[in-house]
């Protein structure tokens, strides 16, 4: 039996779709992609579409705002955390810390202590989160696996508690009146119209996806894969594992910071309670639920984790019980996630399948 036969035999259904898509002519692929992207830009209008609206709409809370305040953030955060967990294979339970650094930088710079314009605070937020990633990563990245998990969890808590105890950062009261993005053309970033935030956020998501795809297929991405599959072997082959792990941390942190900064400027108010440890756990759940290492998987995971509890508000107090059970069910029946990484789904990845 040839290798391709073996491959085909083990191909999971979603890969068949993906392979079919890849075998289409380039023009067809481009137009399908463009249609999907255009449809996504119109997400705020989805609740008005028959059937689709019935499925997506969130009762008791505004879909438009759930989209911008939660789903958008979870997608960005899942993409960022996926760099750390999925690409480099580092378990990070304190990712909310970087989200907090980004949000607080924007808040402090535009409202808390200074009054910088939004456009200037944004890059600084990303930079600060990146620095936080390097500062956290340098002492801790020599630790392995679950030791890293608990230390990062601690860092997330340290950042939150520091914010809570620092008057300069607003203490437990938090910071309000955070600057909104400047309006341009027909897009006015006002209080009662969340749509422009989605147009902005989805554009940012597209840019991040594009950048990460390039990165994953570059030398850095291959180094990450080597570290993930077998760190010792990678080290022996001459990969500077520490450097690449630190890169993963910094890039992941930067995306987390970007998400935090967008969140702060959308909601206009943050306090330390926004950055509880539980959020880190939900972020990780988004990544694994969707499919660790698979870009489209983690996007799906982010969407579901943010959306399910809002969609099922009708269940009242029981909705987080439902959410917990759904997590278990998905993991039991699709342990690789909803849309697994290609290699994992095809069963040719090493470590994760065999260990």
């Amino acid at each position: 039996m040839s290798l391709t036969d073996a491959f085909r035999r083990r191909t999971a259904p979603q890969l068949r779709v993906s392979n079919k898509f890849r075998s289409l002519p380039k023009s067809a692929r481009w137009s399908i992609g463009a249609i999907i992207i255009a449809a996504c830009y119109f997400t705020p209008y989805w609740p008005d579409v028959p059937v689709l609206g019935w499925i997506v709409n969130t009762p008791g809370t505004s879909f438009e705002n759930v989209l911008t305040d939660q789903i958008m953030m979870f997608i960005l955060v899942a993409l960022g955390l996926n760099v750390v967990v999925g690409f480099a294979g580092l378990l990070d339970l304190g990712y909310v810390g970087f989200y907090a650094v980004g949000a607080y930088t924007t808040a402090v710079m535009t409202s808390g202590q200074f009054s910088w314009p939004w456009i200037a605070a944004m890059p600084l937020s990303i930079l600060m989160a990146m620095i936080a990633g390097v500062v956290l990563g340098t002492p801790t990245l020599r630790l392995r696996g679950d030791y890293l998990a608990i230390v990062t969890l601690g860092f997330g808590e340290i950042i939150r508690i520091t914010a809570n105890n620092s008057d300069w950062l607003g203490g437990p009261r938090g910071i309000n009146k955070i600057a909104r993005p400047p309006s341009f053309g027909p897009f006015e970033f006002s209080v009662l119209n969340a749509k422009p935030y989605w147009y902005l956020g989805f554009t940012v998501i597209l840019i991040v996806i594009f950048a990460l795809t390039r990165l994953e297929n570059s030398r850095v991405g291959r180094a990450w894969a080597a570290v993930r599959e077998d760190e010792d072997a990678a080290e022996l082959m001459g990969v500077n594992t520490f450097k690449f792990k630190l890169w993963a941390f910094a890039i992941g942190a930067a995306i987390g910071g970007l998400a935090g900064a967008l969140y702060a400027s959308k909601v206009g108010f943050i306090n330390p309670d926004n950055f509880q440890l539980q959020l880190s756990i939900l972020f990780l759940a988004a990544v694994v639920l969707g499919g660790t290492g698979s870009m489209y998987g983690v996007i799906m995971g982010g969407i579901l984790v943010a959306w399910i509890p809002e969609r099922f508000r009708g269940f009242d107090t029981r909705r987080y019980f439902v959410f917990g059970v759904v997590l278990v069910l998905v993991m039991v029946f699709r342990p690789q996630g909803i849309i697994p990484r290609r290699t994992a789904a095809a069963g040719i990845s090493g470590k994760e399948e065999s260990e």
């Binding site: 259904p13 809370t61 705002n65 437990p172 009261r173 943050i270 399910i308 969609r311």
Partner: protein, 385 residues
């Protein structure tokens, strides 16, 4: 292989579709839920009012009396006005500022809603009020006491009770003038509410403060703070925080042999949550509150509806709901009219004469009432002017 793959995918689909179809049925019952002794008698509502509060999540125990108070008011109103009844729509935020804007938008999008009671907490208020302000939807909170909320000058914001800037100094004054202690210890729960109040008391108490500490409200063990208080042995200990932690803290302080007089703020005024839970450890504790015990009728009605004594802020939410109900009954039919009427409102509630300043604060909010736990019951002792 293939078959089991298909089956597996099928199972996921089946499980998920259970969940997905579940939403269909839940759409209509989504927002007007859980009203005990339901307001379901209202078939042709003339309008509705919204309640934004923490129904689920860690702080849900604080949210429950808000819902009960508001529900009681609605049910009484609808029983009295069967032809012009009003529905209560509840919106859960879990007290989480991240969820507040989406909830606020959905309140605003519901054109039948003419006014809002809440938001329950200060954090969610700061996140949601910009939206309500823009939409011109009147809000009346009976619990968000953070003094800084009005720094932004919201037009629609109203608060039916005194804020922390009033309560803190009043408590300090009571401690200084009535208890006259040589030394005061201050503990806070590091929360927006608790720390704000504790800081206000600390500032007003000045030099008599001999020890301060913070506790983590999620922790069970406060032994470091207890040791500190035991060492300083102040005559009075003030704790800024909610009743759950107050009960734990009182018990641990008494167990360690600390005999200081305990003083708390309004978040502790909860018979079941504090006095009943801490038992002997709560005896003699003083609780300051900008809230007043509702009338005897109110207490009896609450008792009849829920077989318990009214919870924290229950009376405030009852009053807040009644303000909106009376305005709607008087004929206000749109949000602008309701907002104008709230600003002009001047009538007796069960807790006080309700009238708002231009800033949205209650005019009669300068009085703080002092309560004491005597024989296991929280009872009124004095006004602090």
């Amino acid at each position: 292989m293939k078959k089991s793959n298909l089956l597996r995918a099928g199972a996921v689909l089946v499980s998920l579709s259970f969940v997905v179809t579940a939403c269909g049925g839940s759409d209509d019952e989504a927002s007007d839920t859980t009203a005990p002794a339901a307001a379901a008698t209202c078939d042709n509502p003339v309008a509705s009012i919204a309640l934004q509060f923490p129904e689920t999540g860690d702080a849900a125990n604080l949210g429950a009396p808000m819902l009960k108070g508001a529900t009681l008011a609605i049910n009484e109103f609808n029983a009295a006005n069967p032809d012009a009844c009003v529905t209560l729509k509840t919106f859960d935020t879990q007290g989480d500022p991240a969820k507040a804007p989406a909830v606020a938008q959905s309140v605003i999008d519901d054109a039948t809603i003419l006014g809002l009671i809440g938001p329950g907490f200060s954090g969610e208020s700061l996140a949601a009020l910009p939206l309500y302000d823009e939409a011109g939807l009147a809000t009346i909170t009976g619990s968000a006491t953070n003094a800084t909320i009005q720094e932004q000058g919201f037009k629609v914001f109203h608060r039916i009770l005194a804020n922390d800037a009033v309560q803190g100094p009043a408590v300090a004054k009571y401690i200084a003038e009535t208890l006259k202690p040589a030394s005061v210890g201050i503990i806070d729960d590091a929360s927006d509410y608790g720390k704000g109040l504790a800081d206000a008391v600390k500032a007003a108490a000045g030099d008599s403060v001999v020890a301060t500490d913070s506790i983590d409200p999620k922790a069970a063990d406060f032994s470091a703070a207890v040791s500190k208080m035991k060492d300083a042995n102040p005559e009075v200990i003030f704790f800024g925080g909610y009743y759950g932690e107050a009960a734990k803290l009182s018990t641990q302080l008494r167990d360690a042999g600390v005999e200081s007089t305990l003083v708390f703020g309004d978040g502790v005024k909860d018979q079941a949550g504090y006095a009943d839970a801490a038992g002997p450890a709560a005896e003699g504790a003083l609780i300051a509150c900008p809230c007043k015990d509702g009338s005897a009728d109110f207490t009896a009605a609450w008792q009849a509806a829920y077989s318990e004594v009214p919870g924290t802020y229950g009376a405030e939410y009852y009053d807040a709901a009644n303000v909106l109900l009376n305005i709607i009954k008087a004929g206000a039919a749109d949000r602008a009219a309701v907002l104008a009427a709230v600003k002009a409102y001047d009538a007796a509630g069960i807790t006080k004469q309700i009238k708002f300043t231009a800033n949205g604060e209650a005019t009669e909010a300068s009085t703080i009432y002092m309560y004491k736990v005597t024989d296991g019951k929280i009872t009124y002792v004095a006004d602090i002017k």
